[in-house]
């Protein structure tokens, strides 16, 4: 019974992993570009939620929406001011641009918020529910379910809408898309907004259920790499499965081996994946 509890907890957290990783995979698939600051976007989403609760006293719908909008704007801003200029530059510039951004955001957060762990003040999602013998914190349950729904929604948006077709067209062949009357620059800007927005929502959802500090950005960034590598670069539905799997593996290894080892197991899995199946489980070679 305890193991079942651990498994469900891991899957709920894994759903949130899936949501922010789908943002990373979107950028990778669109632009063949890795955002090293993606984990920091999640961390910023958490602090946006925190500030909205503390200053304005908004409930979960308010601060989640605020985090989504703030990070969407940040993503668009970073695309316009930074990424657009380095994307056709040398590889070194591409990697350094978001890597430097990650350091900048992480240590600015340390400076402003200090290294202490914080939790959100009591929200309307407090308490636990009993589901068939399992005790689940409401906040975790809501975060997991909302994250799954949003990841699926992003998948549907990409596969079943005009905007999605345009995004995929730009990803497939930029020049041909341009000839079809699609503006690649605008689509890539939108992709950055969606990607950062997804990270922001995931951050706000996790803020309701878990304590955090500025250092979580690095951990979430690496987890997003692992999820994307497992799910296949560029596949949102792949990152949904992979996110759930990683959440599950993390929870079970923390339960059996001890909490320190959960990250070792996950990063070890990543290295093994790069060795054995670099295109990911769902990816095409």
């Amino acid at each position: 019974m305890v193991l079942l509890q651990v498994i469900v907890g891991g899957l709920l957290l894994g759903a949130v992993y899936a949501l922010f990783s789908s943002g990373l995979t979107l950028i990778w698939g669109m632009m063949n570009f890795i955002n090293f600051a993606h984990g920091e976007f999640v961390m910023l989403g958490m602090y946006v939620a925190f500030l909205v609760v503390v200053w304005l006293g908004g409930g979960p719908p308010v601060f989640t929406l605020a985090a989504a909008l703030a990070l969407f704007a940040l993503g668009v801003g970073i695309y316009l001011s930074l990424v657009r200029h380095v994307i056709r530059g040398p590889m070194l510039a591409q990697i350094l641009s978001t890597f430097g951004l990650a350091l900048l955001l992480r240590y600015t957060a340390f400076w402003i918020f200090s290294a202490n762990f914080v939790t959100l003040p009591q929200t309307s999602l407090a308490g636990t529910v009993k589901l068939g013998g399992l005790f689940l914190p409401v906040a975790q349950l809501v975060a997991g379910v909302v994250a799954i729904c949003l990841t699926l929604a992003l998948h549907m948006l990409l596969t079943h809408s005009t905007i999605g077709s345009r995004l995929l067209a730009v990803a497939e062949d930029r020049a041909a898309a341009m000839l079809m009357g699609i503006r690649p620059d605008r689509m890539q800007m939108l992709a950055w907004g969606l990607s950062a927005g997804a990270a922001g929502i995931a951050g706000a959802l996790m803020a309701t259920a878990y304590p955090w500090s500025p250092s979580v950005g690095e951990t979430f960034g690496l987890i997003a790499f692992v999820v994307v590598a497992l799910g296949g670069f560029g596949s949102v539905i792949g990152s949904l499965y992979a996110g759930l799997i990683i959440g599950l593996i993390q929870a079970v290894s923390a339960f059996w081996l001890g909490a320190i080892y959960k990250d070792i197991v996950v990063y070890g899995l990543f290295v093994a994946l790069l060795w054995l199946r670099p295109q990911g489980l769902m990816g095409k070679a």
Binding site: V86, G89, M91, S97, F99, L104, L105, F110, W111
Partner: protein, 324 residues
């Protein structure tokens, strides 16, 4: 100008300045900066071989640095070896690890290598922190007092300064030779376009592997030198991400893929770093990394070639004006 002065006069001037620096500025503070500068220049020059010349951007080079550092102190802790005796073992381990990393990731192009290096470095850091054999989170300590000259423990910074300077000179000499050899041309061809290089018959994977192994070996030596001087290592000071960050930023600031770029980068960054630490006190280290992040972003956005490229462009503009 060329007739009056030999073509290599800036290099000769630089070498003379580095040789005389601790004699001209004898204070302990300046010598400490000098030693830190040399160590940063060695690590960044080692990174530069694979990250600069070959264009394979590693953001986890701390794994090699840490291996060298831990190898030096582990055998002292186990059997009382002098730290310098651990250097060849650290180099061997680093080369072995570089093969483990390079074999799978160099089959692929692009960002895979960067992602793999950051994940492996992090994996090793966390793992080291839980492994009692290597001191877990507390780390390892070197000999407290010298048992003989072979422990290389000196009261003065001066012997360290000249030891590090000698290693840097050897590393730069090797890099200068590589630059002129076929191997160096292979590296630059791969950096410019891997596909084009392969179509011209460059053995791409083998060349990248060799560059990574050489780079790893010298980074491990830098790690050993670090603990020979400080006598202490823990997971964060050996394998921490900021160790990797410093190598990347020092090389990129001066000019990645140029012989003296890392040296110039260290020349600017290390005094800047100790200045921010002095101005902002103990809490300054956080600000140092905000500054690092900002500099990295600015380099990537405006001048990915680093200061060397900027200098070349300004010189050309100046010359055109002169001739116009």
């Amino acid at each position: 100008m060329k007739q009056i002065l030999p073509a290599h006069w800036p290099v000769i001037l630089l070498a003379a300045a580095l040789l005389l620096y601790p004699l001209i500025l004898p204070g302990a503070f300046y010598r400490d900066i000098g030693v830190t500068f040399l160590l940063a220049a060695i690590s960044a020059s080692a990174w530069n071989i694979v990250g600069g010349y070959a264009g394979q951007v590693s953001v986890g080079h701390s794994m090699f640095f840490g291996l060298g550092a831990y190898a030096s102190l582990l055998f002292y802790t186990l059997w009382g070896w002098p730290p310098i005796a651990g250097v060849p073992i650290g180099v061997l381990l680093a080369v072995g690890l570089s093969i483990v990393i390079g074999m799978p990731t160099f089959r692929l192009t692009g960002h895979y290598f960067s992602m793999a290096t950051i994940a492996v470095a992090e994996l090793i850091r966390i793992f080291t922190g839980t492994w009692n054999f290597v001191g877990a989170a507390i780390g390892l300590q070197g000999p407290a007092t010298a048992r003989g000259w072979w422990d290389l423990i000196f009261r003065s910074e001066l012997p360290y300064y000249y030891l590090f300077l000698a290693v840097l000179a050897i590393l730069l000499a090797i890099t200068a030779v590589i630059e002129r050899r076929r191997f160096g041309f292979y590296l630059r061809a791969i950096k410019a376009s891997e596909r084009a290089a392969r179509s011209l018959g460059v053995p791409v994977r083998r060349t990248k592997m060799k560059a990574l192994a050489l780079s790893a070996a010298f980074t491990a030596i830098a790690g050993s030198l670090y603990v020979i001087k400080t006598g202490f290592i823990d997971p964060d000071s050996g394998f921490g991400i900021l160790i990797s960050v410093q190598m990347v930023i020092v090389a990129a600031l001066g000019g990645a893929g140029t012989l003296f770029g890392p040296l110039v980068g260290a020349l600017i960054l290390i005094p800047l770093q100790s200045a921010t630490n002095t101005w902002f006190g103990g809490g300054g280290s956080g600000l140092t990394y905000i500054l690092y992040g900002g500099i990295i972003v600015l380099i990537a956005r405006f001048e990915p070639g680093g200061l060397f490229e900027l200098w070349r462009r300004l010189r050309n503009v100046f010359r055109k004006r002169l001739h116009a």
